[in-house]
Symmetry: C2
């Protein structure tokens, strides 16, 4: 086992770095079930025998070009023990976890990696690092959990010779708890589980559970407008942000004096979603709530996706949303993809919906009764607790399944968008067609599955999983499909991303998203805060 910076750290609970070539930690990796292997043979003619993975010590990296002078300058800020140019640290900061990222890691040519990884202790050190890097022309990639699936942490140098990863894991404290107001201030480097652990000691919970929960960080959630599985109850991460501290090459920002304000534009909303291009979020004051007394689970079946979507819409528009509210389409339901233990097992018909209700016993009782009446009236059949508990049990497992599929020569990727309720069926059809057409045209027919996992009074998200047989160059294979589907989303009126963020991968569609003048506004803000342009080059801004 190669020793990494994180494992040497003296902090109480160390965030585990994810393995270099796949999702998560080794303990999460599992071979494909017999059910899934059978399905792969049947559908794609794939044997299901995995290829061997390389040891990370064997991976050649392009050598670090960090100069001695710059090393000294950075060490002056963070201390020698908090800067690493070791290949193992560089490799673990070499990018995120999109399917193209993981496929790229499997290539045998030398890999791109940051020239150094620095681990600042606090806001002041982040500020000092940014000033140093702006002055000396060093590109800075902020790094939280490294879970980006859109190229958001790619070590892009831009116009600069040198690029460093600025790893925020040492900003890992709960600095303030206000149980009366239901808020807590959390360091940007805290992972989801560690944040919940620290809050739990105060009887509190954040309730933000995206699929990346186990590894992603508070700062990353804010910088990418993350949305968790309990968004119907607790809101998107951006809804939870009460206040945030940002370090920029030009100084600090402390935004959010009140739960709501009419004092001009909401500048928090400029930094939430800024993906490290305008500044680095160092701490976030978030809305939290008491650890729920009760959680009720209820699964539902709908005859088809349109009926199920209308039922979800009715719930949300009535103001009767549960804590978790999801609906799988016929394809996803048929493969049991929402229930990790049963994926590929006995086919199920119709569309599965999951609801959970959290809070006080009285609140849960009132809400679940109201929702049950509405969902029944809308054509739903209650399936009881079991499928909902199965979903909850396996809800962070899907990325591990993707790794196992990639290992056996299956291409597997996800993408997501959102639109109005009125446009939902159209957008779903257009995205599905773009994926099946673009992959089918390459001789690799695709399975496309979809679910709604985030609902709003005016619309919902659509989350797609696509599976096909890999070609010899699966990166090029996927690039064709991704381009087709991005164009299709824009043409059909969807947003290019509902919660994965823009990163490098969605940049081609940013001008369509906010318009040319919107892009000029973003650039004007960047010029003011990062005139040298060192902050996360090649991300977000077209």
């Amino acid at each position: 086992m190669v020793e990494t910076h994180s494992e040497k750290s003296g902090s109480a609970t160390v965030a585990p770095s994810m393995v270099w070539d796949a999702w998560g930690v080794p303990a999460g990796h599992q071979p494909l079930s017999a059910q899934i292997r059978g399905l792969l043979t049947q559908v794609f003619g794939i044997s299901g025998e995995p290829v061997a993975r390389r040891d990370e010590g064997d991976v050649p990296l392009r050598p670090s070009v960090l100069t001695d002078a710059d090393r000294d300058g950075l060490v002056d800020v963070v201390g020698a023990e908090h800067l690493s140019t070791a290949d193992v640290d560089r490799l673990r900061h070499a990018g995120g976890k999109s399917t193209p990222d993981l496929l790229r890691r499997r290539e045998t040519a030398p890999q791109d990696a940051p020239d150094a990884v620095v681990f600042p202790a606090d806001h002041a050190e982040v500020l000092a690092l940014l000033r140093y890097c702006a002055e000396h022309g060093i590109a800075v990639v902020p790094f939280g959990g490294g879970t980006s699936v859109v190229g958001g942490v790619d070590p892009v140098r831009g116009q600069f010779a040198t690029v460093i990863a600025l790893d925020l894991r040492r900003l890992d404290t709960l600095t303030e708890v206000d149980p009366v107001s239901g808020t807590a201030t959390l360091g940007a480097g805290l992972t989801g589980p560690r944040a919940e652990e620290l809050l739990g000691a105060h009887g509190l919970s954040l309730g933000h559970f995206p699929q990346s929960f186990e590894f992603a960080s508070i700062g990353g959630f804010a910088a990418t407008r993350s949305s968790g599985q309990a968004s119907a109850g607790y809101g998107r991460f951006d809804d939870m942000v009460v206040r945030l501290a940002v370090a920029t090459p030009q100084g600090s920002l402390d935004l959010g004096r009140a739960p709501a304000s009419a004092a001009g534009p909401d500048l928090r909303e400029l930094f939430v979603g800024s993906e490290g291009t305008l500044g680095i979020i160092t701490s976030v004051t978030l809305r939290v709530h008491p650890v729920p007394d009760t959680t009720a689970y209820q699964a539902w079946s709908f005859p088809d996706f349109a009926t199920g979507a209308a039922a979800l819409r009715g719930l949300v528009q009535t103001g009767a949303a549960p804590t978790v509210l999801r609906l799988s389409d016929e394809a996803e339901t048929g493969l049991n993809l929402a229930r990790s233990g049963d994926v590929g097992g006995h086919p199920v018909s119709g569309c599965l919906a999951i609801t959970t209700f959290e809070g006080t016993a009285a609140h849960v009782a009132a809400r679940s009764a109201e929702a049950e009446a509405l969902l029944t009236a809308a054509g739903g059949t209650a399936l009881g607790e079991a499928p909902a508990r199965q979903w909850a049990h396996g809800r962070f497992a899907a990325p591990y399944l993707r790794d196992a599929l990639l290992d056996v020569g299956v291409l597997c990727e996800t993408l997501e968008t959102a639109t109005s309720w009125a446009n939902l069926a159209n957008l779903k059809a257009k995205v599905t067609a773009a994926l099946t057409d673009a992959l089918g045209a390459q001789g690799t027919p695709a399975l496309v599955m979809c679910h709604i996992s985030h609902t709003y009074p005016s619309g919902a998200s659509l989350y797609f999983t696509v599976v096909a047989k890999q070609l010899d160059d699966p990166i090029a294979q996927w690039r064709l499909a991704k381009t087709a589907v991005g164009d299709a989303i824009v043409a059909a009126g969807g947003t290019i991303t509902h919660h994965h963020a823009v990163g490098a991968d969605h940049r081609p569609w940013m001008a369509a998203e906010v318009g040319d003048l919107g892009v000029r506004v973003l650039r004007a803000v960047k010029r003011e805060l990062d005139p040298a342009g060192v902050l996360n080059p090649g991300k977000l801004m077209p």
Copy 2:
């Protein structure tokens, strides 16, 4: 009666211009009740005899300096019939409705007014006007209902010789309704009642009812981050904004492709609250809902403000908020200020809270039962429907009462802030002390009353009404108090404004609100979109 542009307009329902020297329309004006006059004699030694008001035809204005060339240039865009330099139109666009505004109108010296008022028909004309004004150095004050109480529509010239008011009343159509998604696109110039009327024809409602509802405009609500009395149920106006169109001297913006997105910073939030300094909002797509089947009213009494505030907090943090949720403090309750028909009548003890519940019958039944249980457990005593209906009946009347008080020599003004629940009592005490000290030191002891009218999981707004005897120079008298209270709000951790906006009056505290770097960000955006600086000079930005 002087004929004004609005009364000549051919549009179906014409928004009535407010009278020049007071709130609202003549029909709303009422003499003080015997109860109130008795109270004024008792507390302030004031007789209660009103001074006579001037006719607007008798008011001297500084002459218009619009050149013939500029008149021709503007007329080229809007047509001769939609540009006015008539004194009556200029006077009605000479400012907003703060107490200092109204006191200033009573002065006999010539009044400041815009040099012309233009009435563009649509987005394209607004865009063309902005381009013309940017090119020719004419300051532009966007004008909706003219209800600003913070100097937001003052005809400030800045560095320019000429200033025009750009009145948006002709942008008065409902251009799109999507009942499935629950959204509607409304012209910026629609007043609250006209918007509700147009939506009502589709069985829909916006549910935005600030005190300015009867006269304020959709564009103004967005540009100032308005918050209505039903904000607990339907959200602040900024929460309702799904999409918005903005005209700037540099072109147009169309922001908001989806109900939620992770495609970078939320640029909508830069224009919502921008108060006409970055662009002019010409239409807004808003979340709407079916006209409620049922409205339930329930008033409550709490022994004191702290108990009542804790009860409201419990409701909101449980996720059981009603549609309307308000709490008057002991002083406001004692004067019956929440019940317009009874103001100054038989004193009432404790603190009055108002709840209403809107929606389907089943939803209202479920929600009101949950709220009733929580409020009772938190120490509330149900008072039945009557006081809540009384509040609802008179809820737009308070500004008329202020006019009647000003007429008899009483200084009356309101101000508002917001903070966390934990800091609420502290902020309330500090604001009250600042007002009573600053006015008391001038020999005019003040009555200060307060209510909570907007609640959030992490905190609430505080809305203050202050009443004192006028001195000879009541504008200077109030300026001392306003400065003291602004400083006190900032020192006590509140926001300088929760829903009145910044305008000219809160500018001194903007740097404290967003920091120097935050101000630089706002200026950078303004430089990009309005390089000539013609948009609403002297507002928002310090």
